[in-house]
């Protein structure tokens, strides 16, 4: 299923678990550092994966995150079980948010999540089914062609 020179790692993210939120993106960052990815790309990947992780924590029940790493690219796939997104175009606009007051008090829900992922990723794919969940595929290119 997976070529020989790659690495694949799975993580679980629990919805509503604010105290542990951000651990997965920290682990991803550490893995990327260990293999010697350019710090600028690591920083973009850290921001994007953190935003994606926070979306799960804020809105979904739980999610599976898969990190795939090859010499060509980093792919982060997040598949959540949650409410889905009603209008993706709207959610991709900066400043649009459905966060509750409580989330905003904690400093989240500025409506920057998805646009921020989009801005930092080289390739961003999103699909959602209402009432079932959302899938994000975030890709960073390691050879020429990336945003670095």
């Amino acid at each position: 299923m997976f070529c020989d020179d790659g690495l694949s790692q799975h993580f679980q993210i629990q919805g509503g678990d604010f105290s542990r939120a951000g651990r997965v993106s920290t682990t991803i960052k550490e893995i990327l550092q260990e293999v010697g990815i350019d710090p600028a790309i690591i920083r973009r990947a850290a921001i994007a994966s953190y935003e994606a992780e926070m979306n799960v924590v804020m809105y979904a029940q739980k999610a599976d995150l898969t990190l795939k790493l090859t010499p060509e690219e980093i792919t982060i796939r997040i598949e959540d079980q949650g409410p889905g997104i009603k209008n993706i175009d709207q959610a991709m606009q900066e400043g649009f948010s459905t966060a509750t007051d409580q989330m905003r008090e904690m400093g989240f829900g500025a409506g920057m999540g998805l646009p921020n992922i989009n801005r930092n990723a080289d390739v961003f794919w999103i699909g959602s089914i209402r009432g079932k969940g959302t899938v994000l595929i975030i890709t960073f290119l390691l050879k020429k062609g990336g945003k670095a």
Binding site: T26, V35, G36, R43
Partner: protein
């Protein structure tokens, strides 16, 4: 050999391998091999946590001995504001400065006025700054090293204004050389340090420049002699030194001491290297963008909590607060001239001369494919481990152990949880060998006979 200097030394005779240092090390730089602690040099950021943690004093900081003073024709002591924190309002800074001159230094210069000046210079810098936020203070050399090693993407956020100790030493050398008719190298400038990290910032500056300081003497070494020297100091002999004592800079040794002088809306003070790591992780995730300035100290409560100080860090933190209160009642209130600072700022006087470069840890391999393959192997080894970070193998965590198996000298059976499996495997092999030999001996005789028959035509 690692190209990086460190000023920590483990004395093997005193070390009995208790692993306390290994567990507190924030960058997982310590391993215990054959019952003795070792430092992986490229990972060490010289925070000194291990010095404090060791119950036997087996880890020592290599600071300069007093004898170093004889190398110079004229010597100046520059005490860290952390020195005043050891005494508090009972012995005022001007008296301490006078006491230092009785100890064998030709002169002593209090840094608080320079600290105040640099506070103004930071204000100037922050006002025009529009790069990524927050700007991170460079006062603590360990924090600068930590960013170079673990957070290279934050390197451009480090404050490029030189530290008060360097600025003052530079200025003093130039001025004194002129006045005394000496060469700059004949004047020795010694920082009285609360931590070993300053030693490295002098011998191997992070920004690849040259330090204007010639050495560092630990506060804990000077404390005793200074106490006795202070008894002989007459009050009127030090009143004039008040002109260099500035309230603004007095708080620089404690966490939050810089922030309170900056007059900005949103700043943050963090202390304790483990806390700093959490905050830096957050910055890398894009949080804390609304904070303008972060003051970060590797030691809890700031430099007052350094591993080479004498007083309890919470007491000395309190002593600084009380000292500032007391100084506010003193007659002379030295304060840097803001117009003067602005003029020097425009001339570039305060900026660091060298450039800070990242110093990221070596990847698992220089070749990306190879590095990814090794990382996968590391993950596979990690899966075989109990994941309880017991440390019995001599590596701080199971993850670090997995890396040691891939990159260093560990073997998987160094893990005591994998040791029974080794025995199990051995005993399985042994019993199957036994079975084989029994069954063989059972069928051997007919075979032998067969052979014998064949052998006999």
């Amino acid at each position: 050999m690692s190209p990086y200097l460190h000023f920590l030394k483990i004395e093997p005779d005193k070390c009995d391998g208790r692993m306390k240092c290994m567990r507190v090390c924030p960058t997982e730089a310590i391993r215990v091999r054959n019952g003795k602690a070792q430092i992986i040099e490229e990972k060490c950021v010289d925070c000194g946590e291990c010095i404090t943690a060791c119950p036997h004093g087996a880890i020592v900081a290599l600071t300069d001995p007093f004898g170093e003073l004889t190398r110079f024709r004229h010597t100046v002591a520059l005490p860290s504001p952390g020195l005043h924190a050891q005494f508090g309002k009972e012995i005022l800074p001007q008296k301490i400065v006078a006491g230092l001159k009785h100890l064998g230094f030709d002169d002593a210069f209090d840094l608080s006025l320079t600290c105040g000046e640099v506070s103004f210079a930071i204000q100037e810098y922050l006002r025009d700054y529009n790069g990524p936020k927050p700007v991170i203070s460079n006062a603590c050399p360990t924090v600068v090293r930590l960013i170079q090693v673990k957070y290279p993407s934050l390197i451009d956020q480090i404050l490029p204004i030189d530290t008060p100790r360097e600025l003052a030493a530079r200025e003093l050398k130039a001025k004194k050389a002129k006045r005394l008719g000496l060469k700059e190298k004949e004047i020795g400038t010694f920082y009285l340090t609360p931590c070993p990290a300053k030693m490295i910032s002098i011998r191997q500056p992070a920004e690849k420049g040259r330090s204007s300081l010639d050495g560092a003497i630990s506060i804990s070494n000077i404390y005793g002699p200074l106490l006795s020297a202070l008894e002989g100091v007459e009050k009127d002999s030090y009143e004039k030194d008040l002109k260099n004592i500035c309230i603004l800079g007095m708080g620089w040794a404690m966490s939050g001491g810089i922030c309170r002088t900056l007059r900005i809306k949103n700043s943050l003070a963090v202390s304790g290297i483990h806390e700093i790591i959490k905050v830096f992780d957050d910055i890398e995730k894009g949080k804390l963008r609304d904070i303008e300035f972060i003051e970060a100290y590797s030691c809890h409560q700031g430099c007052v909590g350094g591993s080479l100080t004498v007083e309890n860090r919470y007491l000395s933190f309190n002593k600084v607060l009380k000292l500032i209160e007391t100084l506010e009642y003193e007659k002379i209130k030295a304060c840097p001239d803001i117009r003067e600072v602005r003029k020097k700022y425009e001339e570039g006087y305060y900026f660091m001369k060298g450039k800070l470069e990242p110093r990221p840890l070596k990847p698992l391999s220089e070749d990306l494919s190879e590095a990814i393959r090794k990382r996968r192997e590391k993950g596979e080894i990690y899966e075989k481990l109990p994941k309880i970070d017991c440390g019995a193998c001599g590596s701080p965590t199971c993850m670090a152990f997995a890396e040691d198996v891939i990159m260093r000298d560990s073997v998987i059976t160094d893990c005591i949880f994998n040791l029974p499996q080794k025995f199990e495997k051995l005993s399985e092999e042994f019993s199957s060998m036994l079975e084989k030999s029994i069954s063989m001996s059972g069928v051997q005789s007919p075979k032998k006979k067969n052979k014998d028959k064949k052998g006999k035509p």
